[in-house]
Each structure stands twice: as structure tokens, then as C-alpha cells.
């Protein structure tokens, strides 16, 4: 390894942009954009799949690059894929609530897709925090969700291994958020603090070990971009999310009430597929596996993969296994 070689590779990769699949914007609401991806394979006979990504990171991680794209994998299986891009909330969004995200934004996207296809329901895929939103949406609008897929999604927020949950339980969230938004940088600092030596030291040193292979360096830089391209969080929704889920564990305890209606996981009767990363440091497996115990679905599949949180959608192994697993599961229903 030579340092100028690595330096040149890093410099060349500075502008490596994430996102590889063709898509078109089909609707917008405020900062939200709903995208539909262009098909690349013979269409499968399945309802459209709407991906609801987390609010805390940008959704292009789902389509990072050609060989690291969950979306591309799903398209290759013939699925018709839609994705919600939440945009970057600013000061004008500080009062946006979880109810807004569910009843205005997700509902608006679902309406749009159902209207377009002349359908009564669609398939929903929620990722991480987006999985929590998807569970809530499905509980509020069960007739609109044909099949529900959750990926690295926390459900029981009080499992022993959940460090993030332990940390925030005594934090005065109302005082922290105030009337403002929560900066993405602050959240990044928090996430890095979960494994500071690995995430702020080792991964960079690892980069120096092999030859400066441009493709690997570009891959590294795209993930790096995604990690630190963190939108600020709409204050009200963030306050609600941390209080209701992390501090009070309302979802698992069936004490959640949104839009004046109870959210009870036992009312979820649609087929459900839960994808769990057994090495997930952000969402401990137990936090996610609790869904099987709590959901009312008689057709529930839990799939545990020996992957981490991010590895679930960008690792080479995930590319081979996750899209086919999702497609096969969907097509058999």
C-alpha cells in the first residue's frame, strides 16, 4: 500500500454519489417526494411495494450503488417499487408530529399509489424507524396494507441490550427539543457514541490496510456520505418518538394512541415478514423479534440474518439473500 495511492483514491472518490437506479417523482407534499423506480425485469404479479424509510437518515441507502442496492434487487425480482423521501426538515417543520407523518404523508403516498393502480391495498416495507411508522400506519389503516414487511425494526424498546434506550430514558426530551428541531449532527454523535472506537477509529484504519482499490474506496465514501448526511429531525415528532417509544415503550405495551385511535399490534392480521439482523447494534435482535409475540397475524414469518444494521441493506450477502427472500415471500401470498 502506498499513501499517495490511497490519497488519490480518496480524492477521486470525494464526489462519488449515492443512488444508481432510475426513478421518477410521482408526487410531492411539502419536502416529501414519492418516487417510483423504473422496472428492470419482467413484472411479477404483486401489488406495488412502498418503502417507508427512517426519518433519521437519507433513504438513498436503499439504492447506494449497483452492487449494493436493495431496491435494485427488488426490481430485479420484478417488483414495482415506490420510495418515500422525507427530505430535510427545517425550522418550518418543527411542529410536524408523528400523526402528520402517518396521516398526512404516508397516507398521501398510499392514496396516490392506490389511485394510480386502481387498488385497495399495497405492500408496505418499513425500514428501522420507518418500520415503526409502518406498523402504526398498518394498525390505523389495516385495509390498505396487503402485506407488511419490517426490516431492522424496533418494537420492544426496553430490551436489556438496547443501549440507546437506556441512555435516553432519563433525558428530559421536552427540554432537549424545546420548540426547535434536533440536529442531525447531534444524533450522529449519539449513534457514534454507541461504539466509539469501532466507528470513529477502526473503520478508517481498516481502509488503510488493503490496496487502495478505487471501487472499494468509492463504496466506503458513499456509505460515509450517507452516515453523515443526516437530516435534522422535526422537533415535535422527535419528541413524541423518543417519549412514546424509547422512554415509555408504548408500542410493545399496547398503550399507544395516535390520531385519537389506539395502536394495538394484536390488531395486525395481515401477513407479516420481519427481517432481523442478529448483529444489529442499533436495534438489538430481541427488540425486533418481539413483534412475532405481539402481532396478531396468523401468517407471520421472522427471518434472522447474521448481519448488522447497515449490513442488512448494503452488504454483499444482503444483496444475495434479502431481495429474493422478500420477493418470494410476497409472491407466495
Amino acid at each position: 500500500m502506498t499513501d499517495p495511492g490511497l490519497y488519490a483514491a480518496l480524492a477521486a472518490a470525494r464526489h462519488a454519489a449515492a443512488g444508481c437506479s432510475d426513478k421518477e417523482e410521482v408526487s410531492r407534499d411539502g419536502k416529501l417526494r414519492l418516487y417510483r423506480y423504473r422496472s428492470i425485469a419482467k413484472p411479477a404479479r404483486a401489488a406495488p411495494l412502498l418503502i417507508v424509510y427512517a426519518l433519521v437518515n437519507r433513504p438513498y441507502m436503499m439504492d447506494l450503488q449497483e452492487d449494493r442496492s436493495l431496491i435494485r434487487g427488488l426490481l430485479a425480482q420484478g417488483l414495482d417499487v415506490y420510495l418515500i423521501d422525507w427530505g430535510y426538515p427545517d425550522g418550518a417543520d418543527r411542529f410536524t408530529t408523528i400523526e402528520d407523518y402517518l396521516e398526512r404523508f404516508i397516507q398521501g403516498c398510499v392514496d396516490q399509489i392506490l389511485r394510480t393502480h386502481g387498488l385497495e391495498n399495497l405492500n408496505l416495507l418499513g425500514v428501522c424507524q420507518g418500520g415503526v411508522l409502518s406498523l402504526c400506519y398498518a394498525a390505523l389503516h389495516p385495509k390498505r396494507v396487503r402485506n407488511l414487511i419490517t426490516m431492522v425494526t424496533p418494537v420492544d424498546f426496553h430490551t436489556p441490550a438496547d443501549l440507546l434506550s437506556k441512555w435516553v430514558r432519563k433525558i428530559d426530551i421536552a427540554a432537549w427539543v424545546g420548540d426547535g428541531n434536533v440536529s442531525g449532527d447531534t444524533l450522529n454523535r449519539l449513534f457514534l457514541s454507541l461504539m466509539p472506537f469501532r466507528l470513529t477509529q477502526q473503520k478508517y484504519v481498516e481502509l488503510l490496510r488493503g490496496p487502495p482499490e478505487p471501487k472499494l474506496v468509492e463504496n466506503f465514501m458513499r456509505v460515509e456520505q450517507w452516515i453523515f448526511d443526516s437530516p435534522d429531525q422535526a422537533g415535535a415528532a422527535f419528541r413524541e418518538f423518543v417519549t412514546w417509544f424509547y422512554q415509555e415503550n408504548r408500542l410493545a405495551l399496547n398503550r399507544l394512541n395516535i390520531a385519537g385511535r389506539e395502536i394495538r399490534l394484536e390488531t395486525l392480521k395481515m401477513p407479516m415478514l420481519n427481517l432481523v439482523g442478529t448483529r444489529d447494534h442499533l436495534v438489538p435482535p430481541a427488540a425486533s423479534l418481539a413483534l412475532e409475540r405481539l402481532a396478531g397475524s396468523g401468517d407471520f414469518t421472522a427471518l434472522q440474518l447474521d448481519l448488522g444494521h447497515i449490513g442488512m441493506y448494503v452488504s454483499a450477502r444482503a444483496q444475495r439473500e434479502v431481495p429474493p427472500a422478500i420477493a418470494q415471500w410476497l409472491l407466495s401470498r
Partner: protein, 310 residues
């Protein structure tokens, strides 16, 4: 990989220099890798510690066949390793819990001073009270930060001891690139394991929440003071903008409700024309309305565990 075990680590040094502002000899003009300096520094410190450890181990006389002496040798080696590796991450993370550079000394006030404890009277009463509350909150931030930093230092000392006890004496006699890499990974593992134990502890959670809560209170008092200043110049305050934002929200909600109202009454849009796929190829069936019904298979619950590697 280089056959010279030190070369790879030494290669980091120029990158560290780039990070400190020196221009690279190759690469894009004016380009720098500022973010790389701390990592290069970390690796370089580790390599130096490892080098020191190996040198010390080689100087120790071996005692073949003497179990007691061998145990003492191992203990001495572990102590040397703990000493060698105990500092570099601790120094590296010395400011881990500090607030960003905007905040710093000068914001604290000694408890018992006239400023913090003095009576608030007359026209400036509210302002002084606010300033006192802000100063008190800041003192709490500093104290919590110091507690966290102490815990982190103890954690890294613990990690260094664990690392020292795990060092294989055989492999360090002939260090290779792989050995150094493996040792580095093991050191990080030890640090993360020790940190995880600390981070799950109640006293750590208490200190962290105190740090955040005190910071929130300081920010609230400081912001209130700024709002007062802004009013002096008749500039819009955050409070006024918030009021307007809330009014706009109400209007938006009303508009959305009206927009959705007509959609709620008629039957579902099943007759809507099937859309054209945005894809280049024509799609045959995906856009057709799909039947809604029960699962094709009987009710089932299935858990699968897959995978060995990632």
C-alpha cells in the same frame, strides 16, 4: 500487503501530515484529507506502543522450564502492555464528551460568587436571575462532562489491562503486518467491550442524562436572553415565528381535510385507468388490479434463522 510490518503503519504518517495542512505530493491540486489526521495519528500511536512493547519483551530474559518465572514474565509483559497501550486512546478521546468549540471556559461561574448567588433586585432582576440560571446550568454541564470523561478514562485503563493479558507472547517475537493488524483489532475489541460495560451502567446513564439535561437548561436560558435582545431591535423573535408557523399549520390541516373530503365518499378507485410503468419496457400485468383476499396458504407462523457470515 507489504512484507515490512512497519511500513504499512508508517505510511499513515504522511496522511497525518496532510491532515495538518501540508500539501500532498500527488493527488488533486489543493486537495487535503483533513479528516484523516486523527485516524492516522491513532494508528501511528498504536504502532509506536506496539513497537515499544515488542522491544521490552525482547529485552526480558526467558526462563524455559520455570513455570513461576514464566508466569511472572507474562504478568510483567501484561503490565508493560497495559502501560504502553493505556494512553493513546485515552488521549485521543480526551475531549469526547466536550461540547463543540463554540462553548468553553468563561461560561462557568464559581458557586458562591456574587454573580451566582447575589440577590436579584429591581429593574434588572429578571435578567440577572436568567443569567444565574444559565451559569448554574453550565456548571452542571461541566461537572457532568468531567464525570463522563473520568469514566471513559477508567474504562480505557480497564481495556488496556484486558488487552495486555491477552497478548500472545509467541507471536510478538516476530511481528508481521498481520500480527499488528490483529493486535490492533484485538485492542479495539477490548476497548469496545470495556466501554459497553461502562455505558450500560446506571451511573454512566445518570451522568449522560445530567449532561444533556443541564445543556438543555443552559440553552433555554440563553435563548430567552437572546430573545430579549432581539426585541430591542424590533426583529422577529423565535416565539413570534413559532406562532405564525402554528397558524399556517392549522390552515394547511384545514385545506388537506377539505381536499380529502370528496375522496372519502365514493367507492374505491378500482376503475381508475391502469398506469403506464415508468420503465422502458412495457409491463404486461403488474398494473392490473389485484384481487384482495386471504393468504393463499393457511395461517402459519414461521421463524427462520439464517446465516453464518456477512
Amino acid at each position: 500487503m507489504s512484507s515490512d510490518p512497519w511500513r504499512q503503519w508508517q505510511a499513515l504518517l504522511p496522511l497525518g501530515a496532510f491532515g495538518r495542512g501540508a500539501a500532498p505530493s500527488s493527488g488533486a491540486p489543493g486537495a487535503e484529507v483533513p479528516g484523516f489526521a486523527p485516524f492516522a495519528d491513532s494508528a501511528e500511536r498504536f504502532a509506536a506502543a506496539f513497537h515499544k512493547f515488542v522491544a521490552a519483551a525482547r529485552q526480558r530474559p526467558s526462563s524455559p522450564g520455570d513455570a513461576t518465572a514464566a508466569t511472572e514474565d507474562a504478568a510483567a509483559a501484561a503490565a508493560t502492555a497495559a502501560d504502553s497501550f493505556g494512553n493513546f486512546l485515552r488521549e485521543h478521546f480526551a475531549g469526547f464528551f466536550k461540547l463543540p468549540g463554540l462553548f468553553g471556559p468563561g461560561m462557568t461561574a464559581s458557586p458562591g460568587s456574587a454573580f451566582t448567588d447575589g440577590p436579584a433586585l429591581g429593574l434588572g432582576r429578571e435578567q440577572l436571575l436568567r443569567a444565574q440560571r444559565a451559569a448554574e446550568a453550565w456548571n452542571r454541564v461541566v461537572q457532568a462532562q468531567a464525570r463522563l470523561q473520568r469514566m471513559l478514562a477508567d474504562t480505557l485503563r480497564e481495556a488496556a489491562t484486558a488487552f495486555g493479558s491477552k497478548l500472545p507472547q509467541a507471536s510478538i517475537d516476530l511481528p508481521t503486518t498481520e500480527t499488528i493488524n490483529r493486535m490492533y483489532d484485538r485492542w479495539i475489541d477490548c476497548a469496545e467491550e470495556a466501554y459497553a460495560r461502562t455505558a450500560h451502567r446506571e451511573d454512566f446513564c445518570d451522568a449522560l442524562s445530567e449532561y444533556v439535561n443541564a445543556g438543555s437548561h443552559w440553552r433555554r436560558e440563553s435563548a430567552a436572553g437572546l430573545e430579549e435582545l432581539v426585541k430591542l431591535w424590533d426583529l422577529p423573535t423565535r416565539g413570534e415565528i413559532n406562532t405564525l408557523t402554528l397558524r399556517i399549520r392549522e390552515l394547511e390541516a384545514e385545506l388537506l381535510a377539505r381536499k380529502r373530503q370528496p375522496e372519502a365518499s365514493p367507492s374505491p378507485a378500482r376503475s381508475a385507468k391502469s398506469p403506464r410503468s415508468p420503465g422502458p419496457a412495457k409491463r404486461a400485468r403488474s398494473a392490473e388490479p389485484l384481487a384482495v383476499g386471504k393468504p393463499k396458504r393457511p395461517a402459519k407462523r414461521r421463524s427462520t434463522r439464517q446465516g453464518h457470515t456477512s
